[in-house]
């Protein structure tokens, strides 16, 4: 373990820990835009600068490992002034359209501008203009809002192992794009969307569907494969308008295209809304009482005529444990047969 002090507070962390991680471990805030705990340190946004005693310039805390006896200062008038200037530079060519931006209220850049009180930008300068070129139905790219933090590039390469995008060109012309600036053609996992700190990458499906304040967030489990990913349903007016996942989950916040974007079946108009009974060859709407009485009557008659083992039940790998338990209990105790199975083999 390495002992150091941060803002005069003694902190002890394992060797190899960065100053940023040590500070966060001690619950001392340092602003960042390009840092993600699951990705390699990048040192791109420079907002995480701190003073270290004995070094006569600020250092980026996300890329500097701690050393024994290090004395770190995370905030001072000079550092905050530098941070504010960095933010002003980032915002100098940023479209100030927070009013209609999908990310408003959930945007790291907006939040930092708020805390640093940047109302007017003294560094207002040339703007970048991009032609939109995305036919894919999942990911909306507003590249003029990109701050080149590179999180999307790193996540695509380091976590997803796809490498669909990278930073092309240099200086003011630098941009994140697929090879040869083609249309995005990837696995559409949306991991990039989940880590983007601004409104540069958002989900098309939840565009203009509701702001944070009207949305209820409910933690549940993804209904698709057996990985058991934790998902957060964003619900507005009895409708799921977005799915996300928190970082402190089994799946570390990562999802696949089905988990992240495949939720609109929930509120699909074709959902069954009423029981049906077949009459003269056609399925006709019925009440619950009619349907349940009819089933109870028919199953009772089949059982009386042919025995309980002439009735079988298929339960569901899509339903909950409780429902599956009740289903087999119903088949075994109420109907009287062990003819109960589900699609484990299919």
């Amino acid at each position: 373990m390495i002992d150091l002090s941060i803002n005069g507070l003694p902190v002890s962390v394992p060797e190899g820990t960065t100053i940023l991680d040590a500070a966060r471990f001690a619950d001392i805030p340092i602003p960042t835009l390009c840092h993600h705990p699951k990705l390699t340190p990048y040192g791109g946004c420079r907002l995480c600068i701190v003073d270290v005693k004995g070094i006569n310039r600020p250092v980026t805390s996300c890329t500097t490992p701690v050393t024994a006896g290090m004395e770190v200062t995370t905030t001072s008038p000079t550092i905050e002034k530098l941070r504010k200037t960095i933010l002003e530079l980032i915002l100098s060519d940023h479209p100030n359209d927070c009013m209609v931006c999908e990310k408003a209220g959930d945007c790291t850049l907006q939040e930092l501008a708020y805390f640093y009180g940047i109302r007017e930008n003294r560094l207002d300068g040339e703007r970048r203009v991009y032609a939109k070129k995305d036919d894919n139905p999942f990911i909306e790219r507003n590249m003029e809002k990109c701050i080149l933090c590179g999180k999307c590039v790193r996540i695509c390469d380091e976590v997803q192992g796809v490498g669909a995008i990278d930073i092309a060109y240099r200086g003011f012309n630098a941009k994140v794009c697929p090879p040869f600036e083609k249309n995005l053609d990837c696995e559409f996992c949306g991991q990039c969307v989940s880590v983007c700190p601004t409104g540069a990458l958002t989900g098309k499906a939840w565009g203009q569907r509701g702001r944070q304040k009207d949305i209820k967030e409910i933690e549940t489990i993804c209904p698709y494969c057996g990985c058991g990913c934790s998902i957060t349903l964003h619900v507005r007016r009895n409708e799921v308008i977005r799915v996300s996942s928190r970082e402190d989950t089994l799946n570390e916040g990562w999802l696949c295209p089905k988990g992240r974007f495949g939720y609109s079946f929930i509120n699909n108009a074709a959902r069954l809304k009423t029981p049906f009974i077949r009459e003269e060859g056609k399925l006709k709407e019925a009440t619950w009482d009619e349907a349940l009485d009819f089933i109870a009557d028919r199953l009772g008659k089949v059982k009386a005529k042919y025995g309980a083992d002439s009735i079988a039940g298929l339960s569901s790998a899509r339903c909950t444990n409780e429902e599956n338990y009740l289903f087999q209990k119903f088949m075994r105790a109420a109907v009287g047969t062990n003819n109960v199975d589900h699609c484990a083999r299919l």
């Binding site: 559409f188 409910i218 696949c256 069954l272 079988a312 087999q328 075994r332 003819n339």
Partner: protein, 529 residues
């Protein structure tokens, strides 16, 4: 899984056989990629060049259905190289001698002829796995959906046992379950021979326990499996079928047979969230709530019981499945009373100690992995630490048997089926999601460029694929993924349902159908749909 998902990244060797993990279990696939970044090596055994091959050290492209030969070949090498964990074999297993002799026939040279995998790759894979300190095996339906699926699984168990690679952290045997709660449905006793918690229905003492708990007389006769139910319906032995949230018309082999069987029933009830292909055949259709509209638990592939929470109300008059079952049961004269859905979990815990320590409160944030017998038990991340529940684990000698339907002159191709990334199972959910259907709009048959050229098929052409059971028309996807002579069709699409073609032959032990191998022919010039 004997291990848990977070343990994957600490494997030093991953042997992935019959699992297209990055598409069927994408988030587990991410953990595998993470393991590779941390220095692990992946051995892939798959007839197709799946995405994971890109991350692998060895890829064995074996013919579908030759897994037993391949695995026996690897074990033959381990035996020759004396890479057997003798201590583990003596202390924890039985039947090693008979098993050892059974491998004599499986020299890598002979196995190369059966599987098509070069001898050097078999040797390399065997040594990689044999030398590893924390290796784990991962498999999915590529191993199980065969008429000899049980044999395949025995072969995998033998490999792990002879090398002592079980019962340690990041070391074990890991079948990846394909549906959100297929583990739970099995745990809960929705299987014809076992009550909840894998307790056999034909053992009188166990039956007595459940009769007391449920206050009912119970049958001592093991029931029928899903695939057997269809045959029994055909033979007039099953007269009524109640289906909750399943779509056998799409998921079962030989669709024509399934539809005939369902139509032959006197009474069919289907309870689902959509008017599925199966629901359209029903006498009564009941609308149910989907996962986002109810409270309860799912159990994922690593035995983790996780909390499912109600986020919205079901549409129209749709009701939660639990409410429907309870009401129907009451009307049939068997009243099950619960004030809260959590009381059901408590009742399960009383009958199956492995989940007795799990409460909704404890799994509010993180799930718990069974066995978790007491309220202060932390759950069990990996199984078989310090031994097996039955005492010693048995080796089961396994002989390679060819699949039931192999290519011949008339049907020269092997067809294998499976899932793809953007669709899910029978498609009743994902086919309703507009975005997913923009990128994955239609069925296709993957065919090797050499075969395509010989049959004069261009990428995107409509072709007719025919087996002994039926034919479907779909688009050709010319791809290097399958080898010459193999074609692949995803089974999500009702317009060209792959299961019209598949072979309903069953494994004699577990009754799983042979969905991964059948013989087909491919023709052009039918004009398409």
């Amino acid at each position: 899984m004997t291990n848990s998902i977070p343990e994957i990244e600490n494997n030093d060797v991953l042997f992935v056989i019959g699992s297209n993990t990055t598409e069927t279990h994408p988030i587990i696939g991410l953990r595998m990629k993470k393991a590779v970044r941390k220095g692990a090596k992946i051995i892939v055994a798959d007839p197709r060049k799946i995405n994971l091959v890109r991350f692998s050290t060895v890829w064995m492209q074996h013919r579908p259905g030759t897994d037993v030969a391949l695995l026996n070949g690897m074990m033959h090498v381990l035996l020759q190289e004396q890479m057997v964990d003798k201590g583990f074999v003596t202390e924890w297993t039985e039947g090693f001698d008979t098993f050892r002799k059974s491998l004599a026939d499986y020299s890598p040279e002979k196995v190369e002829k059966i599987t098509g995998v070069p001898k050097k790759d078999i040797v390399r894979a065997a040594l990689l796995y044999g030398e590893a300190k924390r290796p784990a095996i991962y498999y999915t339906m590529g191993i199980t959906q065969h008429a000899h699926g049980t044999q395949n699984v025995f072969a995998i168990a033998n490999l792990a046992l002879m090398t002592g690679n079980l019962g340690r952290e990041s070391t074990g045997v890991n079948p990846l379950r394909g549906q959100n709660n297929v583990q739970g449905a099995t745990d809960m006793g929705c299987i014809p021979n076992q009550y909840p918690g894998y307790q056999r229905v034909d053992l009188p003492s166990i039956r007595a326990k459940f009769e007391t708990a449920w206050d009912a007389k119970l049958s001592d006769k093991p029931g029928l499996t899903a695939t057997e139910m269809m045959n029994a319906a055909m033979e007039d032995k099953v007269k009524a079928l109640y289906i909750m949230g399943e779509n056998p018309v799409m998921s079962d082999p030989d669709t024509h047979h399934t539809v005939k069987a369902l139509k032959n029933l006197e009474f069919l009830v289907v309870q689902d969230i959509f008017m599925t292909e199966t629901a359209q055949l029903a006498d009564v259709v009941l609308p149910s709530a989907c996962f986002a509209e109810k409270d309860g638990t799912f159990t994922n592939t690593e035995r983790r019981v996780q909390r499912v929470k109600k986020a919205l109300n079901p549409p129209g008059k749709a009701r939660e499945d639990s409410a429907i079952i309870l009401e129907l049961s009451r009307r049939m004269g068997y009243d099950m009373k619960y004030n809260l859905i959590e009381e059901v979990l408590r009742e399960i815990g009383g009958l199956w100690p492995a989940v007795a320590g799990i409460t909704y409160g404890r799994i509010e944030k993180w799930g718990l992995q069974w066995p978790c017998p007491t309220l202060d038990h932390p759950g069990t991340p990996y199984l078989f630490k310090g031994g097996f529940p039955r005492g010693k684990a048995s080796f089961t000698p396994v002989r390679y048997e060819p699949s039931k339907e192999l290519p011949d002159k008339e049907y020269p191709f092997i067809l294998t089926t499976g899932r793809q990334l953007f669709q899910y199972h029978t498609g009743s959910m994902t086919r309703k999601v507009k975005e997913l259907n923009i990128v994955a709009p239609e069925a296709y048959v993957e065919i090797n460029p050499a075969d395509a050229e010989r049959l004069k098929i261009a990428d995107g052409d409509t072709v007719r694929v025919t087996s002994r059971r039926g034919s479907i028309d779909l688009r050709a996807l010319v791809s290097e993924r399958p080898y010459e002579g193999l074609v692949f069709i995803p089974f999500h699409y009702r317009e060209a349902a792959a299961n019209i073609l598949t072979n309903p032959q069953l494994d004699p032990v577990c009754k799983i159908p042979e969905l991964k191998v059948c013989a087909v022919k491919i023709e052009t010039g039918h004009g398409g749909q």
